[in-house]
């Protein structure tokens, strides 16, 4: 006769399979913490070294420094992505899972549409010189993509999306504080989220 423990194990396995096959659970808190630190470092460099402040640059913009800021932004984005993939890879491997599985593909697909639309819009605005709108828009579209992705990973990502959208909207109103809102959203909020995730799921 089967032992009691077996039934509990059966149930646990069913639960884990249902979760594993519908949600990508290998996101790491460290990725959030690091992305936040990169973002804060980026804001510091942009503001102090490239004199980037979107309200002052929009009138009589210095295109040389703007190019520097764009390159900096691309570098930070790449660094954050590579870090996120690295930590997810490590976490998935620790669980004996593949990082490139149907769930992670679904997660990426759900993020791609809002991110790409936002990215293209930002490039177009950049080309046309609407510099002050870029920071709020990046927050809003990033938030939308997180909100969408929340369906295919832990629920907290949805909340993170809401916070970013909210900050983006506030930032669109208080446009002269764009850089501060951006630093809060991409920097501080990421770090808080990462620490929370780390203590909640990784210890």
């Amino acid at each position: 006769m089967k032992e009691n423990r077996d039934y509990i194990k059966d149930l646990a396995e069913i639960r884990s399979m249902m979760e594993r096959s519908s949600k990508f659970l290998s996101l790491s808190g460290w990725a959030g913490i690091m992305a936040g630190l990169y973002a804060l470092a980026g804001v510091y460099i942009a503001y102090n070294i490239f004199n980037f402040n979107p309200t002052s640059i929009s009138s009589g913009s210095n295109s040389f420094e703007l190019v520097n800021v764009v390159i900096l932004a691309i570098m930070i984005l790449t660094l954050a992505l590579v870090t996120a993939i690295f930590f997810s890879y490590k976490k998935a491997k620790g669980k004996g899972e593949d990082i490139w599985n149907p769930t992670s593909r679904r997660l990426l697909k759900s993020m791609l549409v809002p991110l790409l639309s936002g990215g293209i819009l930002i490039i177009l605005f950049l080309v046309n010189g609407f510099i002050e709108l870029i920071l709020p828009l990046s927050l809003i579209f990033y938030g939308l993509s997180l909100y969408n992705a929340g369906k295919f990973t832990i629920d907290e990502v949805k909340l993170l999306g809401f916070v970013q959208i909210g900050l983006g909207l506030l930032s669109s109103y208080f446009i002269e504080y764009g850089l501060i809102f951006w630093a809060i959203g991409f920097g501080v909020v990421h770090i808080i989220y990462g620490i929370y995730m780390h203590f909640r799921y990784e210890r």
């Binding site: 009691n4 039934y7 149930l11 069913i14 096959s21 599985n101 149907p102």
Partner: protein
């Protein structure tokens, strides 16, 4: 309350079958390769368990072509859903009754 293990569905005795049903309970449809990745089993093993579940009419098969390559998708039938839920309830009862 007395619960008998006879009430446990024989079709779900194997871990692979239980895994297939769990994955299909959480997803509308899944193709062969996705199931294989989730369950970590060989092609032959998975295919034979899928056949078994299909025979019980617990899962349905949908065949199509993507870029001229055959693509088989599996989904849970109403019967399968009923049986799976009943199985879950029985498991819960068994655990409670043995405490």
């Amino acid at each position: 309350m007395k619960v008998s293990i006879d009430q446990l569905n024989k079709a779900f005795e194997s871990r692979v079958r239980l895994g297939i049903m769990s994955a299909l309970a959480a997803n509308h449809k899944l193709d062969f390769n996705s199931l294989k990745q989730y369950l970590n089993v060989t092609d032959g093993n998975l295919a034979s368990h899928l056949k078994g579940l299909e025979k019980e009419r617990f899962i349905g098969v949908e065949k199509s072509f993507i870029d001229r390559k055959p693509n088989t998708k599996y989904f849970m039938t109403k019967e399968g859903k009923k049986a799976f839920e009943a199985h879950l309830r029985t498991l819960e009862k068994l655990i409670k009754s043995q405490k």
